[in-house]
Symmetry: C2
Subunit: 201 residues, 2 copies
DNA sequence: GATCCCAATCTAAGCGCTCACTTATATTGT
DNA sequence: ACAATATAAGTGAGCGCTTAGATTGGGATC
């Protein structure tokens, strides 16, 4: 109905986004329960009550962050494996994409991997579904390589889990001021992934 | 001076241990900031005030858990690599040991890997030292294999980090009711580690 | 063997404070 | 005028931790 965006509404949009950004930073640094809604509001340059103008609750902020993050990852990994390429190239692309996200967006990645226990049961189930979808993409591309004879691993599902683990744990230890760039890590882990699945040389 | 242990004191020791156990369970399930001292006391079958008879603060409980956990890991991994064996055998033993701990003691492992931000700065530095020591053990055994020509990897330090990442992330996803036993995972990851470092077949 | 003592264990009650969230009102741009 | 944005000022609940005192279970003394 109302398709007009006034500048007042645009200001509201910016506040909403700033609150989400501030929540990501705070949840990542101090955890969901270690972060107060006042922390978030102050970091966004607003009063404590402003949080509730734009978001229903603190938990809904976490939910919004988690949904967005997992959707971005799922889409990126799906794109990376859709290409018409060899199993080795597809696994390398998937791992590279996954690692790049977790290194470049390590702040967001920490939140969406380590704060999920604070979600409501319903929201947790929703996120668990997205995570299963990501897992499935990785597992299927490894399984296809095993079927085609390009890979050799005793357990494709365990191997896929291991590849995802490498990316996720990056979010825990990666620091922007470290000596390894996201690209260097993506290359290294893509190579390591091919070794892990026993790709033919 | 007083070397006599009365049964009264033994009861105190048991309460102290039960409080530590309860804290591990609660911190693992709900996080440090999501856990109240009342949660811990109730789970240990004591009144809220009993926590402070045996421990100085909630943070000191976390510190005690973290010190103990990291010391156990450091000792186990050091033992595993001290054996008079080939680089391949030593890396396999180190990874097997590390993975076994994180699978069998996944509750403790979650706390000591994911709740460290709640430590005081001084306590955090202490734990960081223990973690560096564990990292060094793993890195040196990989480096030795590369020097001797048994391994082939473009970056031994990154490879060692990856091996530790696999173990740590286990603590995040491992469930006792899952289909993979700690031993099966240890075997699988030991084999994967040898592939990752490019061990000669 | 009953009595008292004492140190250790444990709790009832509550302190000051911060939490997530609400309400009633002011401000703003069109 | 009006709808959206933002805030000042709270609300009750729960937090970590303290205090003052009750309970407990051996030695030491007679």
């Amino acid at each position: 109905m109302n398709e007009v965006r006034t500048s007042t509404q645009a200001r509201g949009d910016r506040s909403r986004a700033r609150l989400l950004d501030a929540a990501v930073q705070a949840f990542s640094a101090k955890g969901f329960h270690g972060t107060s809604t006042r922390d978030i509001a102050t970091a966004a340059g607003l009063s404590p009550a402003a949080v509730y103008v734009h978001h229903r609750s603190k938990e809904e902020l976490l939910h919004a962050i988690a949904v967005r993050g997992h959707e971005v990852i799922l889409e990126a990994v799906t794109d990376a494996t859709r290409a018409d390429a060899t199993p080795a190239e597809r696994v390398a692309a998937a791992v590279r994409t996954y690692v790049l996200f977790h290194a470049r967006s390590h702040t967001t990645a920490r939140v969406i991997n380590y704060e999920l226990a604070a979600l409501t049961e319903e929201h947790f189930r929703e996120i668990a579904g997205l995570r299963r979808a990501i897992d499935t993409v990785m597992r299927e591309v490894v399984e296809e390589g095993v079927r085609s004879g390009d890979f050799d691993t005793p357990d494709p599902a365990k191997a896929a889990t291991a590849l995802l683990s490498l990316g996720i744990d990056l979010a825990r230890w990666y620091r922007d001021d470290g000596s390894w760039t996201p690209d260097a890590l993506a290359d290294f882990y893509a190579d390591l992934a091919l070794r892990a699945v026993g790709a033919r040389p």
